[in-house]
C-alpha cells in the first residue's frame, strides 16, 4: 500500500508540473498579442503595460518567465490590474460559497442517486428502472443554463417559494444560508442523480451474477442482507472513484455557471466576472488553483480506491 501511495504521489507531482506548464503556455507563450498587454486588460495605459512587462520579466527566457509566474501566483502577488486587487484574497473570499454549493450538491446527488439506483436494481425492468434511464439521458442533455432559469422563474418569481438569489454566509444566518442554497444545490445535483443511479444499477446487476452472491444465498442469508452486505458493498467501490472525479470537476468548473445564474459570490462568480472584463490575472489564478485542486482530489481518489479494492494496488505494483 505504501509503495502504491508513493508512486501515486510522484505521479501527482508530475501532473501538477504539466498542468502549470499548460497554464504558462496558455497565458504567456501562445503567440498572439504581447502578453503584458493582455494581462493589463482593456483600458491599460502604456505605463502600466511597461511595469507589468518588468514585473513578469517578459523579456527574459521562458524558464525564467515560468518561475516568475509560479512565484507570482503562489506568493499571492498576482493582482488584477484594473483596479489593483490581489487575486488570492478574492479567491479565498469565494471559497466558502463555492464549497457550500458543491458539497451540498454532492451529498444530494450521491444519496438520491444511490437510493434510486438500489431500488432500480432490485426491481430491474420496472417502471422506476425505465424512468431513471430517461432521467439519465435527459440529464446529460439538459444544460444548467436551461434548468436554472426555468427553476428561478417558476419557483422564485411566480410561486415565490425560494428567496431571490445571492449567498448568505453560514456564520451569519444558517437558515438563510440553507434556503438560499436549496435551488442551486438541486440544479447542480438533479442531472447527476439519474446518472449515478444508472451506474449503481448496472454495477449491482453485474455483481449479482458473481459466485459469492450465489454462495451467500445458498447459505441461507435473507435477500435484504445479501443485497446490502454483499451486492451493494461491492458495487459501491467504482462509485467512490466516480464521485471523487465528479466532485473535483464540479468545484473547478460546473459550479461556475450555477454560481453566475444564482448570484452566489463564490470563486466561479469571481472568475466569470473577470471573463466579462477580459481580465486575465484572476483567470490565471483560478485555472491554476482549480486544476491543482482537481489533480489533488484525483490522487486522493486513486488512493482511496486502492485501499478499498486490494486488486487495484496489487495489480499496480505488479506492473
Amino acid at each position: 500500500m505504501l509503495r502504491f501511495v508513493i508512486r501515486r504521489l510522484i505521479g501527482m507531482v508530475f501532473v501538477l508540473f504539466v498542468v502549470s506548464i499548460l497554464v504558462f503556455l496558455i497565458f504567456n507563450v501562445i503567440p498572439n498579442s504581447p502578453p503584458a498587454q493582455r494581462l493589463a486588460g482593456k483600458n491599460a495605459t502604456p505605463v502600466l503595460v511597461k511595469s507589468i512587462e518588468e514585473e513578469w520579466g517578459f523579456d527574459e527566457s521562458l524558464p525564467v518567465q515560468y518561475v516568475t509566474m509560479m512565484k507570482n501566483v503562489f506568493t499571492g502577488e498576482l493582482t488584477s490590474y484594473s483596479p489593483r486587487i490581489p487575486v488570492n484574497d478574492q479567491i479565498q473570499e469565494g471559497i466558502p460559497a463555492t464549497f457550500s454549493l458543491s458539497i451540498g450538491a454532492g451529498i444530494i446527488w450521491l444519496s438520491f442517486g444511490l437510493l434510486l439506483g438500489y431500488l432500480a436494481a432490485t426491481r430491474a425492468g420496472g417502471w422506476l428502472d425505465r424512468a431513471l434511464t430517461g432521467v439519465a439521458i435527459a440529464g446529460i442533455s439538459i444544460p444548467v443554463f436551461l434548468l436554472a432559469p426555468v427553476l428561478i422563474y417558476f419557483l422564485t418569481y411566480k410561486l415565490e417559494i425560494f428567496p431571490n438569489g445571492g449567498y448568505v454566509k453560514l456564520t451569519e444566518d444558517p437558515w438563510e444560508w440553507f434556503t438560499h442554497l436549496i435551488l442551486p444545490w438541486f440544479t447542480l445535483a438533479v442531472l447527476s442523480i439519474g446518472f449515478y443511479s444508472r451506474v449503481l444499477r448496472s454495477n449491482m446487476l453485474d455483481v449479482m451474477n458473481e459466485d459469492y452472491v450465489r454462495t451467500a444465498r445458498a447459505k441461507g442469508l435473507s435477500e435484504g442482507r445479501v443485497m446490502t452486505r454483499h451486492v451493494l458493498r461491492n458495487s459501491l467501490i467504482p462509485i467512490v472513484t466516480l464521485f471523487g472525479l465528479d466532485f473535483g470537476a464540479t468545484i473547478a468548473g460546473t459550479a461556475i455557471i450555477t454560481e453566475v445564474l444564482y448570484g452566489i459570490t463564490g470563486v466561479g462568480y469571481y472568475a466569470a466576472h473577470a471573463i466579462s472584463n477580459f481580465e486575465l490575472p484572476p483567470i490565471m489564478g483560478v485555472t491554476l488553483y482549480g486544476a491543482f485542486f482537481v489533480v489533488f482530489i484525483n490522487t486522493l481518489v486513486d488512493i482511496a480506491y486502492a485501499y478499498l479494492d486490494p486488486r487495484v494496488r496489487l495489480g499496480a505494483s505488479a506492473q
Partner: protein, 366 residues
Amino acid sequence: MAIDPQPEAAIPAGGPGAGPAAPEQEGKDRSDYSPWRLAFNRFLRNRVAVAFLVLFFLIVVFLLAAPLWAHHVAHTGPNQTHTVEKLHVGGEVREVVTVEGKPIGPQWLEADGKFFLGADSRLGRDEMVRLMYGGRISLFIGIVSGLITTTLAVILGLLAGYYRGWVDTVIARTLDVLWSLPVLLFGIALGVSLAVGGLKIGPLELSGGSVWVPIFVISIFTIPYVARPIRGEVLALSEKEFVEAAIAQGAGPGRVMFAEILPNLASTIIVFFTLNIANNMLFEAALSFLGAGVQPPNSSWGTMISIGVELLTTQPLLAIVPGVMIMLTVLSLNIVGDGLRDALDPRSKVRLGARTGVAEIEGASV
C-alpha cells in the same frame, strides 16, 4: 460493428434489444445484405432514435431557413438594432424598446412575424432572427469542432494503438492528463486568452472575435474523450489475424493503419462523432454563456442565454427558448448516437446508462 473481415460473421442476425427478429424482407436471405444495410434496418426499427433523428433534421431545416425568415418575414438582420423604431400592430403603436430600455415581448404573428419572440435587450434586436442565426453558429461550431476532434483523435488512436511502446506511452499519458483536467476552466483560460489577443502560429492567423477561436479551444480539449476509446479498439484490432495477414503480405504501417484497421473503426467513429457534436455544443454554450466563446457581434445560443437571464423576470422566454433549443439539439444527437451504437454493434454492452457509455459521452458536458 464489423470487426471481422467477413460480413456474415460480423453481424449476427438481430441483437439484444433489437426485439424479435422481424423478417424485414420476405423471401430473401438476410445474409444477402451488407452489414451496413442490416445496421440501417436495425436503426429503423428503433422508433425513438428515428423520431429524434427526424427532430434533428427539423432543427437543421429551421436553422437553414434563417435567411428566408430574416428577409421575407422579419425584415431585419440578427445584429441589427431597433432602438427607436415603432411597431404598428392593428391600430396600435408599440415601441420596440421603451424609454426605460425594456424590450418588446413576443408578438407571435400579430406583427406579421416581426419580433415573433420579441426583442432581445435594450438594443432591440429581433430575438427570433437571432435564435436562427445563433443556432447556425452553435451547430457550425459543434460540427466543425467535432470533425477536427474526431480526425485528430483517430490519428492519435491509430498511432498509439498500432505502434505501442513509447509512442503509445507518450500519447496515452498526454491524453490521461488532458482528460483529468477541469476542461471548462482550461477552455475559459484559452478562450479568453485568445479572444483578447487572437492567435498567430505561422500561416494560421485568427482574430480574437473569430468563431474559429472557440472551435480551436473545443477541439483541443475534447480529443481525449474520443481518442481513448479509439486507441483501445485499435489495440484489440491490431491483434487480429487480418492485420497479421496484411503485414505478412508486406503492407507497411501506413497501409495497415489506414487501409486495414481504419475501416473497422468506421462504426465507432460514426457513433463518437455524433455524440461528440452534442458534447461540443454544450461546451460551446457554456463558454459563450460565460463570455469566453463566441464574441459579439456574433451570437450563439449560449450568448443569447447570458443576455436573456438579465431580463428573466419580465421576459423569461429570452433565456428559456435558446436553452430549450440547445437541449433539443443535444438530446436528439445523444439519442441518435445511442441508437447508432445499438444498430451498428448489437453485441456491444456499452449502452447509454451503462457505466462506460455515459462516462464517455458525458465528457466535458456541463
